[in-house]
């Protein structure tokens, strides 16, 4: 099998994998980054949402071969600062995981019920706010529409995106995507 160079949360990995394997399984089974969730395998639910070069992307639909050489951020690396997840693991100052405004808003508003979809919701919300820092209610509902929540946490998701937007605009920039 070919060696694939995968850049995840600021760290580069060389993986011997079938290039057709979806990125999702490379993250979960090869790299042990299990925060990215398997929900449907067909791009319908958004549980596997990651950032590829900053864009919210369904990891279940992207062959790992096509992810090679691109900058991938998973939930584990969100809010980790420029050094990525490794920096977090090394205990670097100010790089506590969960420090992204979206993550903080999600905890404050107690959004999660079962929580399984929430990594994908958070990655989608973070990408939405990076593109549209002050979204309207309609932009939030539309922007989050691709992520299913089986528990029905949509009311708090909308509120948390609003809260994160207000946090992000009132705090220092560059806190992560």
């Amino acid at each position: 099998m070919p060696s694939i160079s995968l850049s995840v949360n600021g760290r580069t990995h060389a993986l011997e994998l079938d290039p057709e394997m979806p990125l999702l399984w490379a993250l979960r089974d090869s790299l042990g980054l299990v925060g990215t969730k398997f929900g449907c395998g067909g791009g319908f639910c958004g549980a596997c949402t990651v950032h590829v070069d900053g864009a919210a992307t369904r990891a279940c639909m992207l062959p790992v071969g096509k992810a090679a050489g691109r900058a991938i951020t998973t939930i584990e690396g969100l809010g980790a600062g420029a050094g990525g997840y490794d920096q977090v693991r090394a205990g670097a100052e100010g790089s506590e995981p969960g420090s992204h405004p979206v993550q903080r808003a999600w905890v404050e508003l107690d959004v999660a019920q079962c929580g399984y979809c929430q990594a994908g919701q958070i990655m989608t919300a973070a990408a939405l706010l990076a593109r549209t820092p002050n979204p309207s209610d309609e932009e939030i509902a539309a922007g989050m529409n691709g992520n299913l929540c089986r528990c029905g946490t949509y009311m708090r998701i909308r509120e948390a995106v609003r809260r994160a937007a207000s946090m992000a605009t009132s705090s220092a920039p560059g806190e992560g995507r």
């Binding site: 090869s30 319908f44 549980a47 999660a112 989050m144 529409n145």
Partner: protein, 757 residues
């Protein structure tokens, strides 16, 4: 809303459990618990299996029942912490391993945790609090009554001196555990009733391993299982040559199945080095199936069967008075026929479980709702003695009743035993959806007889439904799981009626009949089982009667509910049904939701109420109905839900954030399944396999606003994980009728002409 939980505490626990990039907490189930709980110090105080106080003041509380999003891992520790007067920021909560000696029965179902565990957790909290207070009082040479406890401290009232709990742990541990310790009065609660953020939130938002699918065990394999696309079928001839050529595939193993199909279904497992290879290998299997007797079954054939059975006599389950005579003598008879489809649970985490069978033991780590019965099932299919089956439940990525059954744990155990290695069995979305144990489909034929004054004098219901109890080979009658929430009359002894979750109404002549169709479709419990369909039929017919008789729907309900003094309720249920609590939520929802007041132009309001698992709920929906969603002939019209007002009585509120979340989430769940949910049967199997065809409600379709009003109460807490679900669909249907005159008599509403905006 404040987050009382220290984020750092839980991140530390999370990373101890994970231990790095290759996150491994499943080697033995107890490893997860040990990683979460840490090692007890010699000077720790642990008077029961529920709580431990370490000398540094950390309070560890074991949550005995699985958390599937209903919040029990936060709420159960809150009960104990309240009674203990523990500082919540010093509390960490962990999922208990299966251990009957410590915890008694373990499992989450029937909205039962708050009701069933209230005494246990309060007693455990009161016991440790008294030990600490006695220890401090003795050290100070004062009496216990001069001391009070607050925020993890014992305080001497007159001198004001105080000491933290932590340093008292060692001396307290030397004392005998008191047999009985008094509870705090509800008026002294400081934690219960507040909004507390879920204890797993920090781990959830950072992607820490929490769920069954996240379990990684050294040396483990991954397996996917092929099962017959026709319900009741089994593999006949298996050609696994192509599957074994898929890179990464290691082995193919037959799963024999069990005579009880809720224990284990027959199939073929493909074992591989990665999930992806297991899926690819499974798809490469060539299998001839023995399809069994139900290969020609379709949704249409089932509908025909329901209608035919509904015209027959059925079995009489309950009869009060003389319904036939009362209907014959009625001024008017209102009749309606309702039909309901199969629903999939569609937990977002597909079914999965990790098992390691070795040395005569079986170690299970996975997302089970019922670890107690799960151990029995695993023992039954593996032949390993029950006491050698060890189960650690993970957080569940949704349950909704699917995980009351442990078939996928049995699969994992059988495969691990066959290959001699730890294995994670995992379903694709299609496996999960096409081999679910569905909300049983059925129909209801209802007739109500009215007298000249518009009073209901006769109520006749023929319930035609598949039975999950029959499917699971239960010994009680088939109807016993399908009558929940149906109407009964005022019989002499209501205790047997309450066991069936029947609700007594002031109607002199009531009859409930049942017929069981013949079908191969696998069925099980689906959130608020039977209540969802039964409440829809009862609450929409009631509205129809009220409107046709020119009566206020609230007044009509109050008349039917009657005073609690009219009911003779026996038995030892500490929170027996009380119609006055239902009256209170009806009035509250009507008032706050503006029911009976004139809605804005182009909008209408609908009301419904229901009693489920000890709790009471009424909802008012305000909606409008727009034009057709597309120009196609028969295209559904778009419904916009502007506001839902929910009044709820679930006794004492433990975690207000949790109660509000369950009410909002339950309404959205009920709404989505009412509009879209349907598993279609064709050629004996399930058609829908993924979320493209099995539509779940999406963010934009959720109501613009959901207001939740919880009735203040000093009654024991009752369940709130299911109560909101059955109420929303009839409230919507009643509002649609108010606006259009059209009575919806089936779900999904998309098949009755209505979709969400």
């Amino acid at each position: 809303m404040s987050a009382h939980v220290s984020r750092r505490t839980f991140l530390r626990v999370g990373s101890a459990a994970g231990g790095g990039l290759l996150l491994s907490f499943g080697w033995r189930p107890s490893a997860l618990e040990a990683a979460q709980a840490g090692t007890p110090a010699a000077a720790s105080l642990q008077p029961s299996g529920f709580v431990r106080l370490d000398p540094d003041g950390t309070v560890t509380i074991w949550s005995k029942n699985p958390d599937m999003g209903q919040g029990v891992k936060t709420a159960l520790p809150m009960i104990l912490a309240e009674e203990m007067d523990a500082d919540w920021s010093r509390v960490r909560a962990i999922d208990a391993e299966l251990d009957r000696s410590k915890f008694g029965g373990q499992g989450s179902g029937g909205s039962d945790s708050m009701r069933a565990e209230w005494d246990l957790y309060r007693n455990a909290g009161a016991t440790i609090r008294e030990m600490l207070a006695d220890t401090a009082a003795e050290a100070w040479g004062v009496t216990r009554t001069e001391c009070r406890t607050e925020r993890s401290r014992v305080v001497h009232a007159t001198t004001g001196r105080s000491i933290e709990y932590g340093p008292l742990a060692a001396r307290a541990a030397a004392r005998p555990v008191p047999q009985k310790a008094a509870w705090k009065p509800a008026s002294a609660f400081t934690l219960l009733g507040t909004r507390v953020a879920g204890v797993d939130n920090p781990a959830i938002v950072t992607g820490r391993p929490l769920y069954g699918i996240d379990v990684r065990v050294p040396g483990m394999k991954y397996a996917a299982v092929a099962k017959c696309p026709v319900f009741g079928g089994r593999p006949a001839v298996v050609d696994d040559s192509a599957a074994l050529r898929v890179p990464g595939v290691r082995q193919v193993a037959r799963i024999p199945g069990h005579e009880n199909p809720t224990f284990l279904q027959p199939g073929v497992a493909v074992v591989a080095d990665s999930t992806w290879a297991a899926f690819k290998g499974r798809d490469a299997l060539r299998i001839q199936w023995d399809e069994g007797p139900f290969r020609d079954e379709t949704s249409a054939s089932l509908s025909d069967q329901f209608a035919r059975l509904a015209r027959g006599e059925g079995t009489t389950v309950r009869a009060v008075g003389d319904v036939d005579a009362a209907l014959a003598g009625a001024s008017r008879v209102v009749e309606a026929y309702y039909e309901f489809p199969f629903l999939s649970h569609a937990t977002l985490e597909p079914h999965n479980c990790t098992a390691d069978v070795r040395d005569g033991h079986c170690y299970i780590t996975g997302p089970l709702q019922m670890q107690g019965s799960g151990a029995l099932v695993v023992s039954e299919v593996t032949g390993i003695p029950r006491e050698n089956v060890h189960i650690q439940v993970t957080r569940l990525g949704g349950g909704f009743g699917r995980r009351l059954l442990s078939d996928y744990a049995a699969e994992a155990a059988v495969v691990s035993k066959a290959i001699g290695a730890p294995v994670q069995v995992i379903g694709t979305r299609e496996d999960d959806m096409r081999h679910d144990y569905y909300r049983p489909a059925g129909a209801r034929a209802l007739r109500a007889g009215l007298d000249a004054n518009g009073r209901i004098v006769a109520w006749d219901c023929h319930l035609v439904n598949l039975s999950r109890n029959a499917y699971r080979r239960g010994t009680s009658p088939a109807w016993s799981t399908e009558t929940y929430g149906m109407v009964t009359g005022l019989s002499e002894n209501l205790a047997p009626d309450f066991e069936l979750d029947l609700v007594p109404w002031h109607i002199p002549h009531v009859r409930l009949r049942f017929s069981e169709p013949r079908s191969g479709v696998a069925t099980g419990a689906w959130r608020a089982p039977a209540h969802v369909a039964n409440a829809f039929a009862v609450e929409t017919l009631l509205d129809e009667i009220a409107v046709s008789a020119g009566r206020n729907p609230v007044d009509l309900r109050l008349e039917l509910l009657g005073p609690s003094s009219a009911l003779r309720i026996t038995g030892d249920d500490p929170t027996p049904y009380n119609p006055e609590r239902m009256v209170a939520v009806l009035r509250l929802a009507a008032e706050r939701g503006g029911f009976g007041q004139r809605p804005p132009e182009g909008r209408a309001r609908g009301l419904a109420a229901h009693y489920t698992f000890g709790s009471y709920c009424a909802q008012v929906v305000e909606l409008s109905v727009g034009p057709q969603a597309s120009g196609a002939v028969g295209a559904p019209r778009r419904v916009t839900i502007h506001r839902v007002t929910c009044a709820l009585d679930c006794g004492i509120v433990v975690n207000r954030s949790g109660v509000e979340a369950q009410a909002q989430g339950g309404i959205i769940d009920g709404l989505g399944h009412a509009f879209f949910g349907e598993i279609t049967i064709d050629r004996g199997g399930a058609v829908e396999g993924n979320f493209d065809r099995y539509r779940l409600i999406r963010n934009r379709e959720a109501p613009a606003a959901i207001d939740v009003h919880v009735v203040p109460s000093t009654m024991r807490p009752t369940g709130f994980g299911e109560i909101a679900v059955p109420v929303i669909a009839p409230a919507v249907a009643n509002a649609v009728a108010a606006l259009t005159g059209d009575r919806i008599r089936r779900t999904p509403f998309v098949r009755a002409g209505y979709t969400l905006r």
